[in-house]
């Protein structure tokens, strides 16, 4: 029996939720249940994608309530791609976690699986939410799961980082909610499309835009509000770092993107997009500089995230500019999100392997390790290639799109920044890859015979390879993105 495409909308949220509950109830079998759930969720997302490709944008009114009180799930090209990105990274992280939480304490394992699947469910729900309040709820749930996962390691630094992350999450969500409240007070609807069709440039919308943008900026860790990210991402367990950096920050950015394309579209010709772009520039420079300074690999990778997130904001002015090819700009930004998700998760998982095998992740420890941990170092190097945006990689295609639009729009400052960011990235990636290739005698290695479980090594490598291979699939991805996206950027609503 072929299910109606709407059903998949519900299933991609419900399935991971069910998995979370099951793993919580049967902690002994959590890895097995988690793995199976991961595969099933992945399958469901693929099925949804196929359904969306076939029947264009899809909408499900849960329980038949309908707006304004009911919950509407909406899948268009953008959300489908986000779901797919989450599913791919999620599957790899699931595989990785099986090895990572294998023999270590049962306690961590017992909490990791339900929290992770719960996070996945809220992530999927977030991408499918059709109204601004549901976005708040899913965002908050996402934060809570992420915070709990951060604290999972239980070390003081991790708990402190989690606490800070918690406060950031709450403050950000509350600002967002405040913005929603203003919006509702002014317009009286919550559905995004409905808001988009009636929103105008009035003072309450201004206030709302400021609050929402500021709150989401902090949750997306846009410079200079990124202060919470490096400690949280660096101190969490490796699979958690990977999903925080690759996915969770994308959640809040997704909301930002979606709202600016619709509800706040009337504010597109103000200075606001330029402020975002300027902060993006700051992020690229500052994040890269910090990445060049960090003594440990995970911190380095975390600061790399700070830098890379800057790229997402860089071209917002063009995205909001009627004169530019907005569709192409959006393609570039989305492609960048996806490329970054693959590369960054691969980098964090490799860093996790190094930490696992060597007992620490200091850069000095990996001297000469390319011989001993070839898969891991290769994974990191490949991920690095995508982060630096060297061809042929997804990062390269993304940067190509961004660069193309920047040049087309005559934004030469942005061209310079994009380029400089790439070179700086090369600098910090080489800080890891270079020493790994150094040749030293066995007795000078940090650990003579490092051991990494196969599932960990391969899931990192798999994601890294994907970060390269996705460079060849641009046409398909962008075809998917085009579904229903006319409404977003065409201003025809």
């Amino acid at each position: 029996m072929i299910l109606e495409s709407e059903i998949w909308l519900a299933l991609v949220v419900l399935l991971p939720l069910a998995g979370a509950i099951l793993t919580f109830m049967a902690p002994r079998y959590a890895p097995q249940i988690g793995t199976v759930s991961g595969v099933i969720v992945f399958g469901a997302v693929v099925a949804l994608t196929l359904a969306v490709v076939e029947s264009d944008a899809t909408r499900l009114t849960v329980g038949g309530w309908g707006a304004p009180l009911g919950i509407d799930l909406v899948a268009d090209g953008l959300s489908t791609l986000m779901l797919l990105m989450t599913a791919v990274v999620g599957l790899a992280i699931t595989a990785y976690a099986v090895g990572y939480f294998g023999e270590s304490s049962a306690h961590k394992r017992a909490y990791f699986w339900p929290l992770w699947l719960f996070l996945w469910a809220s992530m999927n729900a977030l991408f499918l939410s059709g109204d601004v309040f549901n976005l708040y709820v899913t965002l908050e749930l996402l934060s809570l799961a992420a915070v709990a996962l951060t604290a999972l390691v239980g070390q003081p630094a991790a708990v402190q980082a989690a606490m800070r992350y918690m406060l950031v999450g709450l403050a950000g969500s509350l600002m967002y909610l405040m913005g929603v409240a203003f919006l509702y007070a002014e317009i009286g609807v919550l559905d995004i499309m409905a808001l988009a069709s009636v929103s105008e440039a009035t003072p309450p919308v201004f206030v709302s835009a400021a609050l929402i943008t500021a709150g989401l900026m902090m949750k997306t860790a846009l410079f200079p509000l990124h202060f919470w990210l490096p400690p949280a991402h660096a101190n969490a367990a490796a699979p958690v770092s990977a999903l925080l950096s690759a996915l969770v920050v994308k959640g809040s950015f997704y909301i930002l993107l979606r709202l600016w394309l619709t509800v706040f579209a009337p504010l597109g010709d103000t200075f606001a997009p330029y402020v975002l772009s300027a902060l993006g520039i700051g992020a690229i420079i500052w994040g890269s500089i910090q990445a060049l300074r960090q003594p440990s690999i995970k911190l380095l990778v975390a600061y790399s995230t700070v830098a890379q997130l800057g790229y997402l904001f860089l071209l917002i002015p063009l995205l909001m500019d009627d004169g530019a090819d907005r569709q192409a700009v959006l393609s570039g930004i989305v492609y960048f999100m996806i490329a970054h998700a693959m590369a960054k998760s691969a980098a964090f998982l490799s860093a996790g392997n190094i930490l696992h095998a060597l007992g620490n992740d200091r850069i000095t420890s990996i001297i000469g390790m390319s011989r001993k941990m070839p898969l891991t170092i290769t994974a990191f190097a490949l991920a690095g290639i995508s982060l630096v945006a060297l061809p042929p990689s997804a990062g390269f295609i993304a940067k190509w799109l961004l660069l193309n639009e920047a040049i087309d729009g005559g934004q030469w400052l942005l061209v310079v920044v994009i380029i400089a960011g790439g070179l700086l990235a090369a600098g910090y990636v080489m800080r890891v890859v270079g020493p790994a290739f150094r040749q030293v005698a066995d007795d000078q290695l940090a650990v003579a015979n490092p051991v990494v479980p196969a599932s960990m090594a391969w899931s990192a490598l798999g994601l890294a390879i994907l970060a390269i291979v996705l460079g060849f699939t641009g046409v398909y991805l962008l075809d998917v993105l085009d579904i229903g996206v006319v409404i977003l950027t065409g201003g025809e609503a």
Partner: protein, 104 residues
């Protein structure tokens, strides 16, 4: 006296509460204070929703914000719970109810 209608008044109060909460969040290093400040912020937001439900005061109040506020309160309670447990852990692990960077 400035003549304020009820809706606008509550909206202002909500905004002020949000501001106070925000100040509390950033000004006091003690985690418990921060969590409480967060709750005050939340209450401020809810207040605005209620004010929005009130609208101009004529006709029936809009039911939607009420539903939202209830949902919001549930979420806030969950969050507060998690935050408190983390704060306890911080205290237990570091011996201080403050984050490192906030200690002067």
């Amino acid at each position: 006296m400035i003549d304020l209608d009820t809706g606008t008044f509550y909206m202002l109060v909500g905004t002020v509460l949000f501001g106070i909460g925000f100040y509390g969040l950033i000004a006091y290093p003690h985690l418990l204070r921060k969590i409480l400040a967060m709750n005050i912020m939340g209450i401020g937001v809810f207040m605005i929703f209620i004010a929005a439900a009130y609208g101009s005061g004529e006709g029936d109040p809009d039911p939607v914000p009420h539903a939202l506020v209830i949902t919001g309160i549930v979420v806030a309670v969950c969050a507060t719970g998690l935050a408190l447990s983390l704060a306890v852990q911080v205290q237990a692990l570091t011996g201080s109810p403050k984050l490192d960077a906030d200690k002067e």
